[in-house]
């Protein structure tokens, strides 16, 4: 069995003393798509934002336990948080293009990392845009403002913006919540291709999407991990009653 890309061990997270994630143990492997499902406020997003330490910026956030990435605890004091965030790329529920041109959006992360070489920038952008199935749509209009793109295009731009940094983990927080079925399908297709070279964590409210677009599924409820397993098994033969209740629509 291969080593996990990310290994979460006894991880707790709380805001102002109120626990959001409780004693979580979970492994995320390379080349897999892990879906996290669960009703609202069950700690999905908190968990996701712990993976790139975005929660550190929230007031009153505290945590315990370890999250190992390639065997190294990401909460160690000698971790370069900026570097971590580049390698654990995050896509938000609502597409947020910065109010600049498409090109500036794409190169922003690279410039932050100190990469200025024009050829490298252009090359990385093309690769990322192709991954996100956006290249053909924007290759001739990179200097146009990003907010003229459609919602689906904007979200794929946001994915590409993360991909130019060549992350090895991609975390997506309900990336298709505001999108139409066609845009959603495009993003799900992109994830299939991306999984070859990335670990993908996909938080979603849409159980059908989890069933379609993931290899394994984890079910969180009120901060507790109830069950995790291959997607096909979770959706057909959940071992926990609460998982089954959720999937048939008993709550949430």
């Amino acid at each position: 069995m291969q080593l996990p890309k990310i290994s979460v061990q006894g991880f707790n997270a709380s805001f102002n003393g109120k626990p959001a994630v409780k004693n979580l143990d979970l492994e995320i492997f390379a080349q897999e798509r892990l879906a996290i499902i669960g009703p609202a406020s069950s700690g999905k997003t908190t968990f996701l934002r712990s993976l790139n330490r975005l929660n550190d910026l929230e007031r009153g956030f505290s945590h315990s336990g370890d999250i190992l990435r390639d065997g190294k605890n990401i909460y160690d004091p000698d971790i370069d948080v900026a570097e971590l965030r580049r390698k654990v790329g995050m896509v938000y529920a609502v597409p947020v293009p910065l109010p600049w041109s498409i090109y500036d959006n794409l190169v922003y992360g690279l410039r932050l990392a100190g990469i200025r070489d024009r050829a490298t920038l252009d090359n990385r952008i093309e690769v990322a845009l192709r991954y996100a199935f956006l290249w053909d749509e924007v290759k001739d209009r990179l200097q146009e403002p990003a907010n003229v793109l459609s919602g689906g295009q904007q979200q794929r731009l946001c994915i590409a913006r993360v991909l130019v940094l060549e992350p090895d983990v991609l975390v997506l927080d309900e990336p298709c919540s505001g999108l139409d079925p066609i845009s959603t399908a495009k993003i799900e297709d992109a994830l299939v291709a991306l999984k070859e070279s990335h670990s993908i964590v996909l938080v979603t409210n849409n159980t059908k999407q989890a069933a379609r677009a993931s290899d394994r599924t984890a079910f969180l409820l009120l901060g507790d991990l109830i069950e995790v397993g291959p997607t096909s098994q979770i959706f057909t033969r959940p071992t926990q009653k609460r998982t089954n209740d959720y999937l048939v629509g008993q709550f949430g």
């Binding site: 975005l54 007031r59 965030r85 910065l98 109010p99 922003y108 990392a113 946001c158 993360v162």
Partner: protein
Amino acid sequence: MRVSPAIIQRIAVVFMWALAAITFAVLVFILAYVLLHGLPHVTWSFLTQSPANMGRAGGIFPMILGTFLVSGLSVLVAAPVGVATAIYLTEYTHEGRMTAVIRFGADCLAGVPSIIFGLFGFVFFAITLRMGLSVLSGSLTLALMVLPTIIRTSEEAIRAVPDTYRQVSYGLGSTRWQMVLYVVLRSAIPGISTGIVLSLGRCISETAAVMLTAGSALRLPRSLFDSSRTLALHFYILSREGISMANAYATASVLIIAILALNLLAYWLMRKFVAKVGR
């Protein structure tokens, strides 16, 4: 007989529109009064020559330059300080005792009348720091005076930048400072500029504080340690000493046109800003 509420409303609205009409009529009257009396005397040579015969003849070039120096320098000093303060308040700390102290200080400073700034600048900059009545004393005094405006408008502009932008920037691996510099300031600059432009307008209009700190020398200032008379003060002296009404009106016209231009600029920047952050 009871008057119906609809009629009362109609009367009230007519009354309030009348008040509004009077207000705008006063504005138009003041502008027209000054410009009609003054513009005929504003010629190219009036703008480019030095005054002669204590301002009875000649032009106002030294005052234009003096105004430009005093206001420009004060904004140049106040803007970085004010914007930095606003950044601190919005991006580098949480609401707490420190922000309360800073905000209270800024609010109090905003209420201090200009004559007090003048007294202070006179004692502190001109005498204690031995800068004399000079462009430097005047501009530092004015810088202190417009600081609260710059802090407040910058803070508002920075707060208007959506939080999601900050999230995205962090997510792409920026430090806080990079985020502030590249995302927040870049979006907030039109809004911040609006405050700076309005502050520039206040500096140009100010009389009491510059009278006590920058002095009233008629000559072209050659250095920041020279005294210089600003346009507003020149207008005041010309009109009050009864030296030359024509030149007083002309000076006031130049002043008013500068203010109009700055207000237009501020308005344009504001619209640009609103369009940018999509409020």
